[in-house]
């Protein structure tokens, strides 16, 4: 009977790691994101050793992945600046993709936690807001670096009356990035778990495949938007 509840999810319960009296961590998020980071780092570290002139199959795959993220950065940042921001964009893309897929592909239910459960790190709003705030910080710093104090002229363009709207935009950009990723991943997991509670065999499978697809699209969107926001500032 227990196998039927592999896809059951718990909303709002977390495995808290109490560091101090005030400082708590969501343990399941930290654990899974560290696992994703380790897997991605190891994969890219070992496949980028002794590169060959004529690539074998593994190197071909990694080169394809590199070309893909390079095209994302190149499309919004242009030939002059894309190299400086490529590491950031690529990290965002691969981390979001790895997190989304880790929630769907790894059977976390086999690992018991005292409370809460292991799942995709991106279905915790803290992870996504952290990524979104990092994006904001990056484009602020990029603006200062490339434009200096003339960066603030952006706020009164095209006219002074738009100042409040331009300021609000600085807050809505990370907010929308944050909610888009979080909402998509949570929506997918909730749909799967509702279908599982109705009929646990075969029926949730198409939704799970759709979830994998949506996870990759969301990773693409997140990195494309981050690149577009940075590109908008520095052009």
């Amino acid at each position: 009977m227990a196998i039927l509840f592999l896809a059951k999810i718990e909303v709002g319960s977390h495995f808290y790691i109490h560091l101090t009296e005030q400082l708590h961590f969501h343990g399941e998020t930290v654990l899974v994101s560290f696992l994703v980071i380790c897997l991605l780092s190891c994969a890219f570290f070992f496949t980028s050793r002794n590169l060959k002139q004529v690539p074998d199959s593994v190197q071909n795959f990694v080169e394809m992945a590199y070309e893909f993220v390079k095209n994302i950065a190149f499309a919004s940042l242009g030939p002059a600046h894309f190299r400086e921001f490529l590491p950031f964009i690529a990290t965002l893309f691969f981390f979001v993709l790895g997190s989304n897929w880790s929630g769907a592909l790894i059977p976390w239910k086999f690992f018991e936690l005292p409370s809460g459960e292991l799942a995709a790190p991106t279905n915790d709003i803290n992870t996504t807001s952290c990524l979104a705030i990092l994006t904001s910080i990056t484009y602020f710093i990029a603006g200062f670096k490339f434009k200096g104090l003339r960066y603030f002229a952006r706020y009164i363009k095209p006219s002074v009356f738009l100042l409040p709207i331009n300021i609000i935009e600085d807050f809505t950009k990370p907010l929308s990035l944050n909610f888009r990723l979080f909402g998509n991943i949570v929506a997918d997991e909730l749909t799967v778990s509702v279908l599982c509670s109705l009929l646990p065999i075969f029926v949730p499978l198409p939704i799970m495949v759709l979830g994998l697809f949506a996870g990759s699209i969301q990773a693409l969107i997140f990195s494309t938007l981050a690149a577009a926001y940075i590109g908008e500032i520095i052009e």
Binding site: F182, V186, I217, Q218
Partner: protein
């Protein structure tokens, strides 16, 4: 008494939030898909590019529904008023 009233109102509000958030993106996605089909019919060789752009814009439109979903999830599972 007040708590149960707030709970009932929150459930109804969650349902309305998701329902209404679905209308606009539904219309938008429909018209975008229609235009894409038209474009592919006119220029079948550009299908790959059109599909990529269509999926990207679908994801943007879907985000609007997702905002409604986030609001309703907050009302159901993390309600600040109860």
């Amino acid at each position: 008494m007040v708590d149960s009233l707030v709970a009932a109102a929150s459930v109804i509000a969650a349902a309305i939030a998701v329902g209404f958030a679905g209308i606009g993106p539904g219309i938008g996605q429909g018209s975008a898909a229609g235009q894409a089909v038209e474009a592919i019919a006119r220029q079948p060789e550009a299908e790959g590019k059109i599909r990529g752009t269509l999926l990207l814009s679908f994801a943007f439109m879907e985000a609007l529904t997702i905002y409604g979903l986030v609001v309703s999830l907050a009302l159901l599972f993390a309600n600040p008023f109860i």
